[in-house]
């Protein structure tokens, strides 16, 4: 790439089912926090990138336009990018190309989601993500989609439900140290997950991350000016993104090949030749517990079908060999679609900078990978951050 991109600061708001603040105000609270950590003012920001997922949640058409003043975008070049659930990592990728191309020196990335506006339940808006001709007449519920993918994954690899439930337990316990967390629970057990209400088998209530309101933000700058702000910068090592066919019923769902392709693109850019060795910790997207396993495999961090075993053996614990979702992930902290940048990218930064407080992973992590996944099980976005 042309110019190295450094992360200067990050911020995020509380994640809850419904927050009092408007989308603009949430964006402001997250952006301001990131700017304070980075030590910059609004007039130092050259450009702003907004990442926010479906308009149908906030209930505002062209909601990027509506949110822009809260993201410090007033009277600035401002653009919104979007690819469903993948936005949480895609917006920071877009921010990366603003700086890496040399067009901007300092770029603010804000992600916001307000799922609570959709009344009575965001499920109403999720209904409109399906194909209108083939799927919507069957009145599908979003959970079905993931239940079907989970079932395929479990059946092909012959994985036990309890091995997957362990992931939910790990993440909800990890989230205990996170001030924004919605569903942290220090005492949760595998039995709690297995005995929770069956929504759409094999998906049970505690396998799912909750819909939330929230926002997150990060500040980037180019290597040329980084000396002005910090002596110990964290850099973006590589980025990758990839999309599969709209026709989700035309492919085998047991392995996310698009995640693997995005990961390869990212690793190539970051000079990661041996992912299992070179990567110190990861934040794969975990809206459902099986998704963490699915994506760990997609990120080439283990062999196909082996990810649940890693958790069983304690490898993915915060003090394990390969900590996964040390933030608590979506399962523990909450799932405000795009604003999950807070767990998937901000967390990488805080961990690498040694600022994660109670959630800090031991040792001396140098490379972390974050990933998000979106659209109708077809989009993968991957980012790698490194220290020094």
């Amino acid at each position: 790439m042309k110019k190295d991109v450094a992360v200067l600061g990050a911020g995020m708001t509380l994640f809850r089912r419904r927050l009092k603040e408007t989308g603009k105000e949430l964006s402001y609270l997250a952006a301001k926090q990131a700017m304070e950590e980075a030590g910059i003012q609004k007039d130092e920001i050259d450009m702003v990138v907004m990442g926010t997922a479906p308009d149908a949640f906030d209930g505002i058409h062209m909601k990027g336009e509506n949110l822009l003043d809260g993201a410090a975008g007033a009277n600035k070049p401002y653009v919104r990018v979007f690819n469903g659930g993948g936005t949480g990592v895609f917006a920071p990728i877009a921010g990366w190309w603003h700086v890496a191309s040399g067009v901007a020196d300092v770029c603010l990335v804000v992600c916001e989601e307000k799922m609570g506006s959709c009344y009575p339940h965001p499920q109403t808006a999720f209904r409109h993500i399906w194909d209108p001709i083939l799927d919507r007449p069957l009145n599908p519920n979003l959970v079905w989609l993931f239940a079907m993918e989970m079932n395929r994954y479990m059946t092909v690899h012959n994985i036990k439900k309890e091995d997957i439930a362990r992931i939910a337990v790990k993440n909800k316990r990890n989230a205990v140290g996170h001030p924004c967390a919605q569903l942290a629970d220090p005492n949760i057990t595998v039995d709690d997950v297995l005995n929770s209400e069956v929504m759409a088998w094999p998906v049970q209530r505690l396998d799912i991350s909750p819909p939330s309101d929230g926002a997150a933000a990060i500040v980037y700058c180019s290597k040329d000016v980084v000396g002005k702000y910090t002596d110990d910068p964290i850099y973006v090592g590589g980025v990758g993104w990839n999309i599969d066919s709209t026709m989700w019923t035309n492919r085998d769902l047991y392995f996310p090949r698009y995640v693997a392709l995005a990961a390869k693109m990212c690793y190539k850019m970051a000079g990661i030749h041996n992912p299992t060795k070179d990567i110190d910790f990861a934040e794969p997207y975990d809206p459902f517990d099986y998704k963490e396993a699915h994506h760990t495999e997609g990120l080439l961090l283990c062999k196909k079908g082996e990810a649940p075993l890693l958790t069983k053996e304690g490898v993915t614990a915060r003090d394990g060999d390969l900590p996964i979702c040390p933030s608590g992930g979506l399962l523990g902290v909450g799932n405000p679609i795009a604003a999950t940048m807070g767990q998937k990218v901000c967390e990488l930064y805080w961990q690498l900078a040694g600022k994660a407080g109670k959630r800090q992973i031991p040792g001396d992590p140098r490379v972390g990978v974050g990933q998000a996944w979106g659209d109708i099980m077809q989009m993968a976005t991957v980012i790698a951050l490194r220290r020094g």
Partner: protein, 386 residues
């Protein structure tokens, strides 16, 4: 979309499945009717299992994004697509209204309950729905009222007349005759426009660009790749984009977004006196006054001057500053997020000398400008050169 993209790939002589590094679509969910439109993009633009994304902005934002992606030196070739399928929308007005601020603006337009199809859903006693003091309003005002407000402001502050705006309509609809892609060519005179009814005074029926369907695809490449492909390339020399505050409450209504975007684009393209250096321009004209307002914002005329230029024929194809030779949105139609690409396409066609009857003689540099439409205060500018 497939047709437009295929044409672009054939024109560039490339195979999208092998040669294109990254794909960009410019779209908004509510224009399409899907909660996550990005899902429905990859197959038809050839992006299966490739880097592909959606930029929620006008097509020119897509070009800017492609430019940045190429400048990172990660990609050689990037495809940008934008489209409009506005004819699928049964409730266009209400969808545009849905973009207004929910707390301070939307409810002013009329009843908060669903006005047309099938009434409101039933909610239980506990639910918050039954608000006290419901109103007896039945209709919501069409969101284009905002153009009425802004045109009023433009006419007052610059002294431009409604007749001058009408001459823009006449010119653009006439230019559209020479454009095979245009849908709204019309042979009318200023008097016809002036006699058309006031819809949002002072905006008249003919002042508004009617909606149209279409898809446009651009292929951008770095210099070396383009030369290897053996094409005489048109260069994207500069671009800029900017957003104003979304609050009507504090907005200035003088196209500040276009001024700032132009400044950025001129700087990048090394343009110091735009009036002399630009040979042909395409500016956003979804309302007739917008063309004049944007010409002034781009620094090509002083405030109040553009109206006289329109009246004197300076903006015609053979005039001093040929503006919207394609027919603009008034002549071609308002193609939502594809508007910017339609304008960029015209500039590229002009620079290549392929514009046929509407060709502007001796063009070296051209500019395309787009606005994101009501109610936004965002827009982008791109400068092209041979």
């Amino acid at each position: 979309m497939y047709e437009a993209c295929n044409k672009a790939y054939v024109d560039a002589g490339i195979d999208p499945r092998k040669d294109v590094g990254s794909f960009i679509t410019c779209a908004e969910d509510y224009w399409e009717g899907f909660s996550i439109f990005d899902e429905f993009v990859p197959d038809q633009i050839g992006a299966l299992l490739r880097p592909c994304c959606t930029v929620c902005g006008d097509g020119l934002y897509g070009l800017g994004t492609a430019y940045m992606q190429i400048m990172t030196e990660v990609f050689d070739v990037v495809a940008v697509e934008a489209h409009s399928k506005v004819s699928d929308l049964l409730t266009y007005g209400d969808i545009v209204l849905h973009a207004f601020d929910p707390v301070y603006e939307k409810p002013v337009s009329g009843p908060v309950e669903r006005p047309w199809y099938g009434g409101s859903p039933e909610y239980s006693e506990q639910d918050p729905k039954p608000l006290i003091g419901a109103t007896d309003e039945k209709q919501r005002v069409h969101p284009y009222f905002l153009a009425g407000l802004e045109m009023q402001h433009y006419l007052k502050t610059t002294g431009t007349t409604e007749e001058q705006c009408a001459s823009v309509v006449v010119k653009n609809k006439k230019n559209a005759y020479a454009n095979p892609y245009a849908d709204y060519e019309l042979n009318i005179d200023v008097e016809d426009v002036m006699k058309s009814e006031y819809l949002f005074k002072p905006v008249k029926k003919y002042d508004i660009a009617p909606n149209v369907d279409g898809a446009i695809c651009f292929v951008l490449a770095d210099d070396k790749t383009a030369k290897d492909l053996g094409i005489e390339p048109i260069y994207l020399e500069g671009f800029g984009w900017c957003s104003e505050t979304p609050w009507l409450s504090t907005r200035g209504f003088d196209a500040l977004y276009a001024k700032k975007a132009a400044r950025m684009a001129y700087k990048m393209a090394g343009i110091t006196s735009p009036k002399k250096e630009l040979d042909v321009i395409e500016v956003d004209d979804r309302f007739s006054y917008k063309e004049l307002q944007h010409i002034e914002a781009l620094g090509l005329a002083k405030p109040g001057e553009a109206g006289f230029m329109a009246e004197n024929g300076d903006l015609e194809i053979k005039g001093e500053l040929p503006t919207n030779p394609s027919g603009g949105s008034l002549g071609v139609g308002n193609s939502l997020e594809a508007t910017g690409l339609q304008k960029a396409l015209e500039i590229v066609t002009q620079l290549r000398g392929h514009a046929g009857k509407r060709q502007v003689p001796e063009v070296e540099k051209g500019l395309a400008q787009a606005w994101r439409g009501i109610p936004s205060g965002s827009g982008a500018v791109a400068v092209f050169g041979r």
